[in-house]
Symmetry: C2
DNA sequence: CGGCCAGTCATCCAAATGGTTGATTCCGGC
DNA sequence: GCCGGAATCAACCATTTGGATGACTGGCCG
């Protein structure tokens, strides 16, 4: 039986080198290509596919400095844009916020590991994912469980819209003008937002929303 | 002439492996020890020092998942707590906000590199730092230069400190307690911050500070 | 030495924000 | 066709925040 053929996708040369070194120590796996962002990853997959040497597993980071991000790339890969059948995608990232995890799972990722995981855990995840199984880091699994147990109420589209203006530093009056509604309505929305996010002032709302990736950070 | 003896400090096994692999390709350097956080780093330095095998350079990450953070550890190392003379400390991290950079420099770091830097740049920085020189990533240097050229009024250290608490959503009262000062003082600082950033409320201050990378978003 | 600035604190007042209650409209689902 | 949720607005009141002025201290610089 031949080795598991892997594509590494990460924008940090240091991390790619680390994964390459780590995977080299695992018998049964081979890194056949690397990419620094989602675009390059898709190109590599297509190239290898047309060569008749498809990859068996994609190890993907979520945050890329520039170019297509990991979630988008995962979605495109699973949509078959880089050849079918699409290979499993194992997310390997630093963050473990709810929004990140859900987005990745929705995009079709087969697993979600954290970079600070011990090598043995990563090895297990790689083997599981390549075999078509799901591989979740314990921390991630715990977070998902907790989320199912007590789901945080979803913000409405209008509320998110308001939150985005809020994050730019606008006053209630300014937001009211911008959205063609009264200040009273703005306040009502804010109160709803606060209660859904479990905070009691606008700056904390921004912090919470940014943390949960409801709105953009920086 | 013997090799430059290096201690790696990073909480991610993957990153440590990457740095080890990358440094192994550079002639003239040897990784003699690794640590996953600041406490372990200090312990390693002391151990090697008593063995009569001091390290010539510490490669330090700033963010550690648990244990002592990089800035604190750098400060302690430069204070001679792990043997003197203290070795140069080269910061190697993911972020490049003003607050991070200033804190590291104040703690006594000899340089500041970003993890997404190409290997050659990292190699140069390692050699420079080991030789007792300063090594700044181009992005970081540019930021510092721009800061000097730009007449954008610099925030004081205390003001940045306050800004960071502000961004977590704390009220004036909460910040006052946290910083052991009165609410009146907090308000004074805020007014100064607003005028320096050209804004007139706290959320706008956070937006401006995040935009200018004075503090970290998310 | 004298001046300046950061940091500290106080007081007063005006404006913005947070919290509550209640009401209307519209839409989609059961 | 009724119910519930989202969105809209109003009025009220307590608290927080913003803005101005003034004052004291300790350090740094020329």
């Amino acid at each position: 039986m031949s080795d598991i053929r892997i594509l590494l996708v990460d924008d940090h040369p240091v991390v790619r080198a680390g994964l390459r070194a780590m995977l080299a120590d695992f018998p049964g796996v081979t890194v056949v290509a690397e990419a620094a962002d989602g675009d390059a990853a898709l190109a590599e997959l297509r190239r290898l596919h047309t060569l008749g040497e498809p990859v068996d597993l994609v190890l993907m980071d979520l945050q890329m400095g520039a170019g297509m991000d990991g979630v988008t790339a995962t979605g495109k890969i699973k949509a078959g844009e880089a050849g079918s059948p699409p290979p499993p995608v194992l997310i390997l990232t630093t963050y473990d916020t709810d929004a990140d995890i859900l987005a990745a799972v929705e995009a079709g990722a087969s697993g979600y590991m954290l970079k600070d995981a011990p090598p043995e855990q990563i090895r297990q995840a790689v083997l599981s994912a390549a075999a078509g199984q799901t591989a979740l880091a314990p921390e991630v699994a715990a977070r998902l469980m907790g989320r199912i147990r007590n789901p945080s109420p979803a913000l409405s589209a209008r509320e998110v819209e308001l939150l985005e203006l809020l994050a730019t530093g606008m006053s209630n009056r300014a937001m009211a003008k911008q959205l063609f509604i009264s200040e009273a309505t703005v306040k009502t929305h804010l109160v709803h937002i606060y209660s859904k996010l479990g905070v009691d002032n606008r700056t904390a709302a921004i912090a919470a929303a940014t943390q949960r990736r409801i709105i953009r950070g920086r």
